[in-house]
Amino acid sequence: MKKTLALVAGMAAGLVAAAGAPALADSHAKTKACFVYVGPIGDFGWSYQHHQGLLAVEAEFGDKVETAYLESVPEGADAERAVERFARSGCNIVFTTSFGYMDATNKVAAKFPDVMFEHATGYKRESDNVSTYSSKFFEGRYIQGQIAAKLSKTGVAGYIASFPIPEVVRGINSFILGAQSINPDFKLKVVWVNTWFDPGKESDAAKTLIDQGVDIVTQHTDSTAPMQVAAERGIMAFGQASDMYRFGEKTQLTAIIDDWAPYYIERVNAVMDGTWESQDVWHGMDHGSVAMAPYTNMPDDVKALAEETEAKIKSGEFTPFTGPITKQDGSQWLADGETADIGTLLGMNFYVQGVDDTLPN
């Protein structure tokens, strides 16, 4: 046993040395872009889409770039080690692609001023080598809400939510606002599963919601399990992060697709020509970073409505958080015609009216 351990340790040391040395040697020739994912790249959801971005970077820059990634890195203490390992191993730019990496990213960034860090969906930029970026997924949620309200027979949709963070809360609010724009009495049931990725639990949550009378399911978790459950039970569902059509050809209405490729290419390019600067980017449909999968399994008039809303959001003519909007507690949030300010949206910690749930703290 001891011998085996020593052998493994030796091999690991060798690997580290081998990985470290060339990276240092030709760090001027090649730019190294590194990615930390919260789920497996095969989740066909969130992490999969980020990995598509990595592949796009490789395709764009070819030999000039070197990439590395770590998948299924838990949020928390492990994340800091993963990020730090990348920073030490000669990465020029590190993309940390989950909200829970926020503190780890900032902590490591302070120690490595020469490495650029890009944190997805966060809001902390404690040193000037940290950027944050996100996409306005909630724009797609609004369209989903409209479709749900048009198609639902029970008037109740189910929402499988991961963690009560602003990004998820925005999605829920946007969905119900979209639904209410069609049917003011539309209800939304929310189930929090407290995980980003657990196909078993996600499918249990989907079954639960269906048993309680929802006939349309949407999710803010990363696996395709809810789509499959919906298909099995013969109700409709929305895909998440990625086009999940093949998991429910008669079930998927549309899906919000995250397209990170343009942003990743732009930022890696900025590192290459030395123009990288700390920034906070929040693109939406206007930049193509949020796209909708084809509208399927719905009548033409619903499809037309969805396409119309999509066009309006894309052109900037309309944004989901436009008043009048009342908070869940009955107080007014936005007056008629008023739009939400970015600060409130980024830190959103309240429900709007119509959500049949209490927001966990």
């Binding site: 095969g42 049931k189 196909p199 078993g200 639990k201 499918s203 079954k207 639960t208 399990a225 749930d357």
Partner: protein, 306 residues
């Protein structure tokens, strides 16, 4: 189908893999071997189950493949800990880590493919019984196996000579050896049985619960199964109770949320674990009872003196 029926059906699906994996581990531990690799064997079962089903086109072949994969994978553990007398805790942990990684590698080709679902077998007449008929007699094969397994394991351990031999090996391997029992052989069989059970539990995940393959899809269920064995103080019938309690609490918390009760979801998610701690405290309160059921040689390596 009423809501209560639907809820119970979901609970049964969630509990079945826990029950099977825990029963397998119980037999392994009763022989005095602590295999912490349940999670790893389970995920190997899940990937193999999915792969075999895809290749053969039959979910049953898939389940068989899952069992086989779990058994073969546990053989590695058996060889290291029984033949080479490696530390069981360390080897078990290594098995879990290896399983999670290896399954990801093997399963790469199957990512994103819609799977083959194991269809329920409806037993005529019995399934017509109101309420329980649909729940108990219109299930998938693995559910029936889980119940049969429970009865078989209970009977085997406490009603057969072979079961007595197995328990004696677990309680005092030196005495068993002195009596002429081949300790290593008994333990090999117990470990392989545990592996096959974990593999089948894994196959349940990828063939019944969510018919697809994704990395890490066991998501900690192997660890819950391990905890259940202690929870049940190494008694098969209590494993049944524990597995269904875990399944029920897990599903109930989703329903409570969907009904809109204002209970923090984080608290609800932790309920099964809180329940485990409470039960462990209650069980360990009676030391004598605990000692009677705990295999005394659990986790200790055995080197026969020649």
């Amino acid at each position: 189908m009423g809501v209560a029926e639907a809820v119970l059906l979901t609970i049964i699906t969630a509990s079945t893999p826990l029950l099977i994996a825990a029963l397998g581990e119980l037999v392994t531990e009763r022989s005095g071997v602590l295999n912490l690799g349940v999670e790893g064997m389970m995920i190997m079962g899940a990937v193999a189950g999915f792969a075999f089903a895809q290749i053969s086109g039959s979910a049953y072949v898939g389940a068989l493949g899952g069992m086989l994969a779990g058994a073969v994978f546990s053989l590695l553990f058996a060889f290291l800990t029984l033949s080479l007398v490696a530390n069981q805790v360390a080897t078990g942990l290594a098995l879990t880590i290896l399983g999670l990684g290896l399954s990801g590698l093997l399963g790469e080709a199957y990512i994103g493919q819609p799977g083959i679902k194991m269809e329920p077998i409806v037993i005529p007449l019995l399934s017509q019984i109101p309420f329980i008929g649909k729940l108990l007699f219109a299930q998938d094969l693995i559910f029936y196996i889980s119940i049969a397994l429970l009865i078989a394991v209970n009977w085997f351990l406490f009603r057969t000579r072979a079961g007595l031999t197995l328990r004696s090996v677990g309680d005092n391997h030196s005495s068993a050896h002195a009596l002429g029992i081949n300790v290593i052989a008994v333990r090999y069989m117990a470990v392989i049985f545990g592996g096959a059970c974990s593999g089948l539990a894994g196959a349940h995940l990828s063939l019944v619960q969510v018919p697809q393959w994704v990395e890490n899809m066991s998501a900690g269920r192997g660890w819950i199964a391990l905890a259940l064995v202690v929870f049940a103080s190494w008694r098969p019938m209590r494993v049944l109770f524990g597995a269904y309690l875990f399944g029920a609490v897990g599903i109930a918390q989703l329903h409570i949320q969907a009904l809109g009760f204002s209970v923090p979801s984080q608290f609800l998610s932790s309920l099964p674990y809180i329940a485990t701690i409470i039960v462990l405290v209650i069980i360990s309160g009676n030391r004598r009872l605990t000692l009677i059921n705990t295999p005394a040689s659990l986790g200790k390596g055995f080197v026969p003196d020649r």
